[in-house]
Symmetry: D2
Subunit: 341 residues, 4 copies
């Protein structure tokens, strides 16, 4: 099947590679001519402009937009100008699902179909395949199934879920039609919200292990820190890299994120390369907004988001105010040790 790819960053380029490998035909466009050249060398057809791009695609056309989040809307519009009724534009990035709903309505006035695809897989996707969460009109999506089947991981070596038998369904092959426009990005949004929560669970737990030798420190008795009740219980020097490794086999927390944690700690148990400023890129926030609007308690997902905010110094005003109140009622001066981090 033929697909046009707009945006040849790591993700877009790797999608093209997976498709070409599996016999699909790819037309590629990027603002960076080098990126086009590189993929031409691997068998793709390059297009120097969006007009050429549209011309190189046989109707009904399919374009997959894979550009940075802030540019997606305008890129979709630019492609749509060259597209015709019954063509399909796929937004494969991390857009807010509400924007999908608006954009789909807009494009519908021109007869163009809009499909939102949440794509998970990161740098490993080229080999491992990408997990795809898809939203849009059922007919438009159905037409694209050969592409999704190639991009997704497929059934692979993963044991079948008990109770599932017969021919594997979509979900077992790693892609899923989730519902009308926005559904794909909604599911991807919540996926990332869960990811934040799981990451935080590992990070907090390993931090508790990392500090299990606190009983060894001669803690000064000052007003800043409560004295440790029983130093004898905190005398362990744990090897966090080895612990992450041992959990990879047979434990309840075994997971891909644990595999990555083990790899990171194996590389450097001190994590000296990192300063601890943790980014967040939208989905975690939107997940919390959805939880609040739906009235669903999401203590864990929200706390993991806020921990990221705090890691970037965003609790500074609140912290200063707490110190100021303490000074007001108790005359407590702040302890002057430099703030870590």
């Amino acid at each position: 099947m033929q697909l046009g790819m707009v945006g040849l960053g790591r993700m877009g380029a790797n999608l093209v590679r997976r498709l070409i490998r599996d016999g699909h035909e790819c037309v590629v466009y990027d603002v960076n001519a080098e990126a086009i050249k590189a993929l031409e060398a691997e068998g793709a057809t390059g297009a120097g402009t969006l007009a050429e791009f549209a011309a190189a695609l046989r109707p009904p056309r399919t374009a997959w937009i894979m550009v940075p989040a802030g540019l997606t809307g305008q890129t979709v519009d630019a492609v749509a100008e060259h597209f015709a009724p019954d063509d399909v534009i796929i937004d494969g990035g991390n857009s807010y699902y509400r924007d999908d709903i608006h954009k789909a309505k807009e494009l519908a006035t021109k007869g163009i179909h809009y499909v939102d695809v949440g794509t998970s897989g990161g740098v490993f996707g080229l080999e491992r395949g990408y997990c795809l969460m898809i939203g849009g009109e059922p007919e438009a999506v159905a037409r694209l199934e050969p592409l999704f089947e190639t991009i997704a991981p497929g059934v692979g070596a993963i044991p079948r879920t008990p109770g599932r038998d017969g021919e594997p369904v979509q979900a077992e092959k790693g892609y899923l039609y989730c519902g009308p426009n926005g559904a794909g990005h909604f599911v991807k949004m919540v996926h990332n919200g869960i990811e934040y929560g799981m990451m935080a669970a590992f990070a907090e737990g390993l931090a508790i292990l990392d500090k299990a030798n606190i009983g060894r420190e001669a803690l000064e008795h000052n007003a800043e820190t409560a004295p440790l009740g029983d130093p004898q219980f905190y005398q362990y020097d744990f090897d966090t890299a080895a612990i992450a490794e041992v959990w990879r086999r047979g434990s309840v927390v075994s997971s891909w994120l644990l595999d990555l944690t083990a790899a990171a700690l194996q590389e450097d148990p001190e994590l000296a390369e990192f300063s601890g400023r943790v980014s967040d890129s939208g989905e975690g926030r939107w997940t919390v907004l959805a939880a609040v609007e739906e009235g669903v308690p999401a203590h864990v997902l929200t706390a993991s988001l806020y921990e990221r905010f705090s890691s970037r110094g965003e609790s500074l005003f609140a912290d200063k105010l707490l110190s100021a109140m303490r000074k007001q009622f108790g005359g407590h001066a702040e302890q002057h040790a430099p703030k870590a981090g």
Copy 2:
């Protein structure tokens, strides 16, 4: 190698089975004679009393205690009465690591070694192997390595962590000497704390998906619930079983807990069998106590514990008080819809 097992519940019996299969010799004891008989039929040597049990073991003896948490201490003591210097008693249950420290000191006065082993694996351990986290004197632990090697999953099919090469180390085979007494249960405790956090991340996220059709409901405009700003954005009927399934392949959240979640939702997407009372069994609490004493923030692990308390109705007094305050300052009457759940 020879091992004595005290406690032949599902976990103890399966450990014996794994050991026998791999050529080890097992002496078994339980208060329930049927349980002994069953394992005798599979090749174990039964003992009718702890005296017989001790007599059937060749010095230096090794006993593995696998009884319910509340009975562990007294069982260890009872076994110790029949044991001699240089014998080893293993606590393979979910004891509090502080009890290990106390118990090890007690047994040391008799020359008996105490080894604490955190054991993860659940009902799947018989086939999958058990992840073992071990604490105790290094020499006593070293002697037991053939047993641990059999019980643990082994290297298996799991890809090696980048940067690890040469002969696989302990951790890669699924067991790890973590440090002095209590270290094994400390690591297992934090493992379970992380498990709570991961479980909550999935539960919250899927709950948000489950309620993504709230825009369809005609929400009454009353003082109890804030009106939904944009009902159009909550019109999705998600198939949570299919979503859990699709995430199993290629996504960032793929994990054993996700596999189990997919299985549970495949069995019954309505989860009608469950009332939502979620138990907690100690490790989650102890993890939070450690976080607080170490001064390590653990928002996520703690919230996941508190959510379990709430699921059992433990927030009732606080909730009533909130309603009472609202009545006091605003004259708000409680809405009378029956409390769900």
Copy 3:
């Protein structure tokens, strides 16, 4: 000064009473004729229709809208139809500040000024005065100052903040111009977010006191609940009503909410009248949305909101899923005690 009041519920009626008492002239309208009659008896001028209402007001007119949240927008529009350029419409309810921004723009096209006033005070406001947080064009707001001065509590007996001297400023008299349209409701929104957090702090703390006798209970040793380490430390039968009372004088937590808590517990320490379903009415949610969008960590305010969701059974799906996972990996059956609450 003259003011028209639309909406004569408890809040609207009490505002009119405070204004009349202080010599202002009030024109009143409500869909309920009885409510109009009642206030006519107290000195207000009743209006049978919005046309009469507008006619009874001298230009430039001032109308204060005090109707249920869901009806505010349409009521403002209906009043605006009878109003003329330079008239002012005040939204004194709990509107979302974003709606203020939109509405102000709409009314500006007709030359009508829109002023948003967050009003705190509850059932005690008639005597105590109402704390007013005000947004809008500075000139339109300035014109209304005599009204605000009457409605607000005034300087009163509250000790002056150190560093403030000379003529008391607005804030010291209990009302404040906060900024352009929406500013009043934004500040009120955050006020309520803080209120949720404070209420939860009291509720949680008193719940901990309430259960401090848990060491007396013969806790069964089962898999559901971790055994209590040291029952001797939980043998207190606290009198929560007396404790709330004692904190009212000289303690750091003394506050109006504590006064109300003391009153509620004095009325009935068992709070038997309440089922524990706690409503939330918008501001708490919007505060969290703002925190997330601003990237400001708000663990406490958010947790207090989620606790309200949970009190209404909104964590049921997540809780069931947790039980289902526990059954999957550990074969744990749910404990069958009926869920409290």
Copy 4:
């Protein structure tokens, strides 16, 4: 009545002043001779050693220990050496209530009574009076009532709680017998836990107000921060000092902590003097330990404690690990802006 005070820091000295003013007789001791001299000048009887201290007190003696938390135990022991059966030793500091239980048992073997008094009031207590929460044997406590009556604020100008009439009870006078040994410090502990929660509620809320102008910033579109959906909604430059001030009158959040917040922001709205390292001194931690052991959800109190840990850089390991995971799965480099704070 006669009282001996050991420890003449600000708190101890002010207690002595309140007692002398009200006609009580005070014997004072401190390791610092200057502190003794200062109070002798105000009418107290100084004692150069604990032996002199004991000799100057008429049996049955009463000593109030008011020394830093870490020294309380040994000071009580030292005083006890000079005391006789039926004497009373009061621990007025912030001891862990469990230590009270142990200490009371020890002293009981000598016939000495031990009374634990949680004392709230801070630097304002001298004028405002101290809120007292008292634990111990009822008879021993009853004997001390004249002292408590002087130290506590008394009924004062605070309006009576509805439903309370007749002669004011203890709690209305600002002191309360809470129960057996440890009860006083248990109630004080929870008081401080609530205080942490309330402080955090104000700090978070005001931080949200402080950042309500974020829509003005030209946010770079990068992978670190999610783009702000609607900058138009975050254009407010709030005067947080004025807002704290206006809430002091008539609002639901009016409280002593708000008074102090208003004072701090009036002093310096930028809080430039503070670095944001917030101390915690034991009670907050112990409150959380109690919540966990009782099985009572305490999301808010716990989050407020963890926010303090984070303010001191204690989340650094966890944050680094999150960055490391992000790099592993997504190749995301950390953003290099220096961590604020």
